[in-house]
């Protein structure tokens, strides 16, 4: 059973979104996603300064058996990628909601409200429907 922090928002494609005190967003993949992928061997994070539109593929998580895109849940400008993951991709496996964050984003005006993000309870329903 995957753990689901209540204070985060989620997407159907298994990203999580944390709103930071300054209004910027931190984005990662859920514990369910890291578990499904298995041991991560490489994480490719976006460069700071890149503009993304909700739904864009902007990071790649690669395990021994698959490489998967991570999509931008909200439109905005990337502030930074998590540089620690280049040397320690397994952090995503061990701490998906903490040190395993992938990138930080400054949402475009109104983008956060426009994004159809899920609450923890709604995301749990997605997982239940998938048989997770």
């Amino acid at each position: 059973m995957s753990q689901l922090p209540q204070d985060l928002k989620y997407t159907k494609s298994h990203e999580w979104v944390r709103t930071r005190p300054d209004g910027t967003l931190e984005i990662g993949i859920t514990d369910h996603a890291q578990h499904a992928l298995g041991d991560l061997v490489f994480v490719e994070v976006p460069e700071g300064g890149r503009s993304v539109t909700a739904g864009d593929a902007c990071a790649v998580v690669e395990s021994v058996k698959a490489a998967s895109d991570v999509y931008a849940p909200v439109s905005g400008e990337v502030l930074e990628g998590n540089g620690q993951l280049a040397a320690a991709p397994e952090t995503v496996n061990t701490d998906a909601y903490g040190a395993g964050w992938l990138y930080r984003l400054r949402p475009a005006a109104g983008a956060l409200a426009a994004a159809a993000l899920l609450s923890a309870a709604d995301y749990q329903k997605v997982l239940d429907a998938e048989g997770g």
Partner: protein
């Protein structure tokens, strides 16, 4: 795995099982107007004996030209052991196996190939081979766009001294992928990239610079300065190199202060005979930091659960059978058989043998150019050092001269007028270790006759 075709009884049994009367029934969903009754312009089939005879007649018509043609494919001596070993049943396949780990011998061969190519180029990692030098160059351009994350322009600087076919293949391959190739001119006096042309790109977003060494004219580029220029501007450097030349020249891994990012080339000179343009074999190498953007397969060495050393396919996760449309390229299966020949060739030649081959080719070409430029109406097009090719300028159209040489049993080289009209009557010649002093003298004498006859006419 045995490959045994179905017998008529097998086919009948299968048809009966699925309830079809005959094989034709399986195609009944194709509308009749789309089906053809026969192939109008295709002659009747020939049997094996007839084909053998036809082919030997055609081969005889080609004759046995004494060839001084290079331009990307080179005639080198191939020790008999290379193909005797390569064609053994254990190796005789073009494919990298899909149940790869079951084929430890094949994997070890690929691993040895990667190791030799990485050492020859001075690069950190090599893949299991590419289709040929031209497609490897195209793949290197695509890889540079993925790897250079500071650049958003997908803009590649390509000197016109890069092989014209490589430039065309790179354009064709990347045509629908938004890459832009900007061609850089060469200096008329030296036949090398005109560094002044780079000034036009100062301050602009450049993804990568391609450098061919030796270049298409056989001339040596200022690789150190060019590599450093590109790196200082955030561009990656793609080297296109001749593997034989690397026995003598500085490997691309040591060009400039940092070495290049990607190095590719044509592996044909390593044990693959000249054959109507292919099949040949490409190679591709890179710095380790770019390995995940590299197309194709990589074999790694590892330990199994019992602690035994073994070989395995690594970095498969970005290939097409897993990543589908988002794979790094369509390269999976490659030129396995020719890669095997190249590996055996390199192991038989050794570092010393390859160095002697390269040095002899260089010396023969110098000797040839010295002889031919004594013929009235022939001069060297460019000043400066070459590896094993050189451009000559004639005082009359090259095509007719080549025809005259061919009637004397000599393949005189490549007429450059179609590729580089600005060079006038230019001829690219090459001599390798396969040519004797008598061969060179024969070329000189024949060229003298042909030129004189043309003047008299």
């Amino acid at each position: 795995m045995a490959f045994i075709p179905h017998t008529e009884a097998d086919v009948a049994a299968m048809l009966k099982t699925i309830g079809a009367a005959c094989l034709e029934d399986l195609f009944d969903e194709i509308p009749p107007q789309l089906r053809i009754k026969g192939l109008e312009h295709i002659p009747e089939a020939l049997n094996e004996m007839q084909v053998g005879r036809l082919m030997s007649e055609r081969a005889r018509a080609d004759g046995q030209l004494l060839s001084f043609l290079g331009a990307g494919a080179y005639e080198h001596h191939i020790p008999s052991a290379v193909w005797a070993i390569t064609t053994r049943g254990e190796f005789y396949s073009a494919y990298t196996p899909y149940q790869a780990e079951a084929s430890q011998g094949t994997l070890q061969m690929i691993y040895e190939f990667q190791t030799m190519i990485a050492r020859l180029t001075g690069m950190e990692v090599a893949n299991a081979s590419m289709y040929d030098g031209a497609s490897a160059t195209a793949e290197a351009a695509l890889m540079a766009v993925r790897a250079n994350r500071r650049s958003h322009a997908a803009r590649i600087l390509v000197p016109t001294t890069l092989h014209p076919h490589y430039r065309r293949v790179a354009r064709n391959t990347t045509h629908n992928q938004g890459l832009r190739f900007e061609e850089l001119p060469y200096l008329a006096e030296s036949g090398t990239l005109d560094a002044r042309a780079l000034a036009a790109f100062e301050g602009e977003d450049i993804t990568a610079l391609v450098i061919q060494q030796p270049n298409f004219f056989g001339r040596l580029e200022e690789v150190d300065a060019l590599t450093d220029w590109a790196h200082a501007r955030g561009a990656l450097v793609i080297a296109v190199v001749n593997p034989t030349s690397l026995a003598l020249l500085k490997p691309p891994g040591r060009w400039g202060a940092k070495g290049v990012d990607i190095a590719v080339g044509e592996g044909q000179p390593l044990g693959v005979p000249l054959s109507c343009g292919g099949p040949y074999v490409g190679f591709m190498t890179a710095r380790m930091e770019h390995v995940r953007q590299m197309p194709g397969r990589i074999v790694g060495r590892t330990l199994d659960v019992a602690g035994n050393s073994g070989f395995t396919l690594t970095l498969q996760a970005r290939e097409q059978h897993i990543r589908r449309a988002k794979a790094t390229s369509n390269i999976c299966t490659n030129q396995g058989l020719l890669m095997t020949a190249a590996t055996i060739y390199l192991s038989l030649m050794g570092a010393e043998g390859l160095k002697r081959t390269a040095a002899a080719s260089h010396a023969r070409t110098r000797e040839l150019v010295g002889l031919l430029t004594r013929v009235p109406g022939v001069r060297a097009a460019f000043a400066g050092p070459t590896f094993h090719e050189s451009v000559l300028q004639l005082d009359r159209p090259v095509a007719a001269v080549l025809k005259g040489l061919a009637t004397r049993g000599i393949g005189g080289g490549l007429d450059l007028s179609g590729y580089y009209p600005e060079l006038g009557h230019a001829l690219l010649v090459c001599a390798t270790e396969t040519k004797t002093s008598a061969d060179l003298e024969r070329y000189r004498a024949s060229l003298g006759e042909v030129m004189q006859a043309a003047r008299a006419a």
